[in-house]
Amino acid sequence: MAETKKQTRAEKKALKERMKHLRSGKLEKRYARTGFIFMIPWFIGAAVFLAYPLGSSFWYALNNIRITPLGRIFNFVGHGNFTQILIQDPDFMVYLVDYLTSTIISVPIIVVFALLIAMMLNMKIKGKGFFRLIFFLPVIIVSGPILGMLNSQGAGSVSAIDTAALSGAIGSVLPEIIAKPISDVFSNMITTLWYSGVQILIFLSGLQKIDKSMYEAAKIDGGSGWECFWKITLPNLRSMILLNTIYTVVFISNNSENPIIGLIKDSMFSGTKEKGYGYASAMAWLYSVVVLILVGLFALLLMTRKDQYEKQVKRAMKARKRETRNKKRIERRNRRNARRIEQQRAKGRITSHTTKRDDY
């Protein structure tokens, strides 16, 4: 048994080796070439508008750039821009912390809210088209200046919800650092909710793809609606939740209402000696790294959560393996002991109580 297994493994390895040396066929090659031809626009674009700016932006960030009538003068300063931003800039760190806290708070709110709306829209209700019309409205309206205008005119919050009392209540329970962003989110409730247009769309189409018969089967087995939600809906929407979370983070970070990107633009065109293109690039790099880390964190948080069923199966498999291993070990030991006893007995120096001693 073990021998054949070893053999097949060796065979497989050899096959792999041979596959490596095998050249792909003519047709395959031609296909790959055509694929490349189709990709040419993207390759050019990625080189010119993505890779080149990315690289030179990093180079800019290490320099102090001054614009003179003769052209741009580069002055290498190393990490000078970064330290200046982190230590001296009065606004950047404040904005960054604000951005981080408000994003971490509002992303779950937006995603959960979008899920709720999507589930309600997915039910059997009258006037579905009308409600959809309303809830997708933000998709087309959400843009920086319009939101800014609405906020400045006080249309960003509902006066019917007494936000002052709410934020006061929050402030009395939680410390200032946590309470402020939360009450900020509440006082801009409408704008927060308005961010969830595309997310509702994505959730809705995900919900419609779930097989209806699963719910029926669960119902027959006596599952309540609550259980159905946790055991069927949510696991099926897992990838969509991840997608929506990432989309929301990206959307909030690129929204022109975000003060940080305004700050980057301001310092880009600032006439002062130490600011300018280099300083702004360094800021953009810092900001991008923070955004990437944030996206990565959210992704990690949501991706590691495995299926409950898979988890159980894995655990059971592991336990079984351990058991069989133990059993085999015990068997081996017993056999060894039995053999030794046999030998001893054959030599004729054994009594019933010396079976376990073998050091003489």
Partner: protein, 314 residues
């Protein structure tokens, strides 16, 4: 006996049975939907109502929603100060032309990714997703320099050129939409066309493109709307930071509304009032009005778009 029967009936009516939803649950769902729907529409209602108010109405605290008389002079002033017709035309051009370029380049890229295997495909996907997640600010400054070197800064080419090479605004999403859609087309269809003697390009144009109509509609709509609503990059690349060019869009005009209005006020001969909430709101409404009309006309496509393209497959 009779009483118990009715009680059972009421219970069933309120909480529902196996095949019917209960009244209570339905009531809660409708109430929630209507409440949240109201919150969604509230800013727009607010906008409409306060844009119709006169100054007296605004100051009168007894008037909250309904203005005492319909007053369209706010719109007139806002439209004049925003240079509405010119800005509308330019918005359509600035949003429309890059959209067409986006359609062409992203569909080609999506097709290549869906249909062909070539070395380094995974890396390409990685780069696409990375470029979606990266904030555009990181490439903004060198791109700005690049455009000014190419001499296309403050012209519409600054939007068209990247869109032509599938690097336009939010292009990664569109590439993924096309990729997802072309994957769903049965491979046998393409192979059949190959057997009938069509080349790679012919089978792309004749078979793949016509069947990808829903993807095209979705991408066109979203690309148009997103270009329309983009103010930050439009101001930087096309409008010019100091407003040096002729190019402008409604959203950019709205962003600089106060400045525009004060300059209009100085040139206007008569009838210009001070900037107030009503005029602000009418300006805001004017800048989203074209999109609202587009939305109500094409709402079916918006609502069904993501279903049909199956963007959510990944």
């Amino acid at each position: 006996m009779r009483e118990r029967f009715t009680r059972e009936k009421i219970h069933r009516f309120m909480f529902g049975s196996k095949d019917r939803e209960g009244f209570l649950k339905q009531f809660v769902v409708y109430a929630l939907l209507i409440c949240i729907g109201f919150i969604y529409v509230y800013p727009i209602l607010h906008m409409v109502s306060s844009s119709l108010m006169t100054l007296d109405d605004l100051l009168d605290s007894s008037i909250k929603w309904l203005p005492s008389s319909l007053n369209f002079s706010n719109y007139e002033q806002a439209a004049k100060s925003m240079d509405f017709w010119n800005a509308l035309w330019q918005s359509i051009v600035i949003a429309g032309v890059p959209t067409i370029c986006n359609l062409i380049s992203c569909s080609v890229t999506g097709y290549a990714l869906a249909r062909y295997d070539f070395p380094g495909k995974k890396i390409v996907f990685g780069v696409i997703i990375l470029s979606f997640v990266l904030p555009s600010q990181i490439t903004m400054i060198p791109t700005y320099v690049l455009y000014s070197n190419l001499g296309i800064l403050n012209t519409i080419w600054a939007f068209i050129l990247p869109a032509m090479f599938a690097q336009g605004f939010k292009a990664p999403i569109f590439i993924l939409i096309f990729w997802q859609f072309f994957r769903q087309i049965p491979k046998a269809l393409i192979e059949a066309s190959r057997i009938d003697g069509a080349g790679h390009f012919r089978s792309f144009f004749r078979i793949a493109l016509p069947s990808a109509k829903p993807a095209f509609i979705t991408v066109a709509l979203f690309s148009f709307v997103w270009y329309w609503n983009e103010s930050y990059l439009t101001e930087l690349y096309v409008h010019g930071v100091y407003g040096q060019t002729e190019w402008t869009t409604l959203v950019v005009q709205l962003d600089n509304f106060a400045a525009n209005f004060s300059s209009y006020q100085q040139t206007a001969t008569a009838g210009a009032t001070n900037l107030n909430e009503s005029i602000n709101m009418s300006g805001t409404l004017l800048s989203i009005l074209p999109l609202l009309i587009l939305y109500f006309v094409l709402q079916r496509h918006f609502v069904e778009s993501i279903d049909r393209t199956g963007i959510t497959g990944e």
